[in-house]
């Protein structure tokens, strides 16, 4: 599939606008999980790394690619896991001590 530089720029511009718009709506409560989530998403670099490590065009590119696969996978796994771990903690009012629900506004 042919890649065109100008196409790439169009994609970049549109994705940036979507990104700015979507991120602006993210709740401030969740800025830390947002960052770990985007961490995991930007580990999309794994795609480039896999291609290098799998095409095996030279020893150098294979080894560097493999290291990059390792670094990105670490980010993917730890990024998604910790994001989920943090998000699980965000609760509205917990049901257990609902003795105080009388005064809850």
């Amino acid at each position: 599939m042919q890649f065109d530089f100008i196409d790439g720029l169009f994609v970049l511009m549109l994705a940036t606008f979507i990104g700015l718009d979507v991120i602006r709506r993210v709740s401030r409560l969740l800025h830390t999980p947002l960052m770990s989530l985007t961490n995991a998403i930007s580990a999309i670099a794994v795609v480039g790394a896999i291609l290098l490590a799998g095409e095996q065009e030279s020893r150098l590119s294979t080894v560097l690619g493999a290291i990059a696969v390792f670094a990105s996978t670490t980010n993917i796994v730890s990024g998604f896991l910790i994001t989920d771990r943090m998000l699980k903690m965000f609760k509205r009012r917990e049901p257990a001590p609902s003795t105080s629900s009388g005064q809850a506004r």
Partner: protein, 462 residues
């Protein structure tokens, strides 16, 4: 045929990433966002593995498994260490981008396939990747306090940084004009690595939220550059989403400190103002945990303002006990969150969520300030500059103009602090000397524990 299929898989992955971020707009849907992200990433990897040019899988699968194994324990860090972990993962992201760019350069140089455009994209990817890598490592070191958190300064710092960056740009241009000059390429890498270190060294702990956000953005931009190198639209979109996120967070952080990017990056906050006049000895009123307990339980509204000090002393669970005790008595307890409280965006929210404080009790600065004059007690826990009224009143103060939480407007202020030493920025805080302020000296965890003990001790009689 297979190419088209791969591109379609990438297309779905992109959509999932957008949904992933979209669902983060509300804590109720946020976990769905993680699943969408995982789905997008799984599709991206599967799609890539279908690529017909791949000739062997051992160099892929082994690091994939090892990376996953290393990633699991990294997700178990205590929540107070999340800023360090985040910085570390930016470093990994930058490294991956840098390495891929390096490998591509040497492959194409060998086959004489380097066009000016490809060289430009590689130079951008490599500079951004490696500077993000070392810059984030320094940031992680500072957050972990392996490296001093104070700004590290020397003469001509900005000049040296500028020269480094200029040299990197010149080399990049030279390479674009003649990509065959392979000797220059390692120099580009070294310059980018050095620039990353020198860029972050002079930045102090309190500015870390901005720096982390900025590095987050760079990591995304490095992925975008990689997209142009690898001619891959999925990389471009996912990188752009990350870059946009980092950019917005940086802007939010800068606004919350009333400072510009350049000022954060080159200003070395909190270094210069040592001799700021009035060193007159004043005394602050102090109170005991018992007094505090009494004030709190007789209040009808309490606003708790947490800062980095709460994270340092791991006091969030005691704060939860306090919240429970007061809520049981019908006291309206809210938490006022300043955007730059802590060491990364949203740091306080996560800590309080960990301590099982319902998130509808966490209120943003702009929403709480109108309520402050009607608040009976403002309890400041390990926060300093974000409640310093000098930001509103004293035109000569270095933090003048920074938006703050108006703790001083509450009827009574209780401030928990280890000692009267000025905070990170080295700025005196008028709040501690105000007539309506009582100081509670000691470690936040210990002090709040005492207050809770006093409250629960009486709960039987109450």
């Amino acid at each position: 045929m297979i190419d088209q299929l791969i591109q379609l898989v990438y297309l779905v992955a992109t959509a999932l990433f957008i949904f992933s971020l979209k669902w983060m707009s509300d804590p109720a849907t946020a976990r769905r966002g993680v699943f969408a992200g995982v789905g997008g990433m799984a599709l991206a990897i599967i799609g890539t593995l279908m690529h017909p040019l791949l000739i062997g899988y051992s160099w892929i699968v082994v690091p994939l498994v090892l990376g996953a194994l290393a990633g699991v324990p990294l997700s178990w860090v205590p929540l107070t260490a999340v800023p360090q972990r985040t910085a570390l993962s930016h470093a990994f992201g930058g490294l991956a981008a840098g390495l891929v760019g390096t490998a591509k350069y040497f492959l194409w140089a060998e086959h004489h396939e380097l066009t000016t455009f490809r060289m430009g994209a590689i130079a951008l990817e490599v500079i951004l990747g490696y500077l993000t890598c070392t810059g984030s490592l320094v940031a992680a070191g500072k957050l972990q306090e392996v490296i001093p958190t104070r700004p590290i300064m020397y003469r001509g710092q900005n000049v040296i940084n500028f020269i480094l960056l200029a040299a990197a740009v010149v080399i990049a241009v030279l390479l674009m004009l003649d990509p065959g000059r392979t000797v220059l390429f390692p120099a580009l890498i070294v310059l980018a690595l050095a620039f990353g270190v020198l860029l972050v060294l002079p930045i102090g702990g309190a500015d870390m939220p901005t720096v982390i956000s900025l590095l987050n953005s760079y990591a995304g931009l490095a992925a975008v550059a990689m997209g142009f190198v690898m001619e891959n639209k999925l990389l471009i979109t996912a990188g752009a989403l990350d870059g946009a996120s980092g950019l917005i967070l940086s802007i939010v952080m800068c606004k919350a400190m009333n400072r510009s990017f350049t000022n954060v990056l080159f200003g070395a906050f909190g270094q210069v103002k040592v001799a700021s006049g009035q060193v007159e000895q004043r005394t602050a009123k102090s109170a005991t945990a018992e007094d505090a307990a009494q004030l709190l339980e007789n209040a009808s509204s309490v606003v708790i303002i947490p800062g980095y000090g709460m994270a340092v002393s791991q006091a969030q669970h005691r704060v939860h006990d306090l919240y429970e005790q007061l809520a049981k008595r019908g006291v309206d307890v809210k938490f006022a969150i300043h955007p730059v409280a802590g060491r990364m965006p949203g740091h306080m929210n996560v800590l309080l969520a960990e301590a099982e404080i319902p998130y509808d009790r966490l209120v943003e600065m702009d929403d709480i300030n109108p309520e402050m004059p009607r608040t009976d007690v403002a309890l400041v826990i390990g926060a300093n500059d974000v409640v310093n009224p000098a930001a509103r009143l004293d035109k000569n103060s270095p933090i003048y103009g920074m938006p703050i939480i108006d703790a001083d407007k509450a009827k009574v202020v209780l401030a928990i602090k280890r000692s009267m030493n000025p905070g990170f920025a080295g700025i005196e805080n008028e709040l501690y000397f105000a007539d309506n302020t009582l100081m509670l000296f000691g470690d936040a965890k210990g002090v709040i524990g005492e207050v809770v003990k006093n409250l629960s001790g009486q709960s039987g009689i109450h």
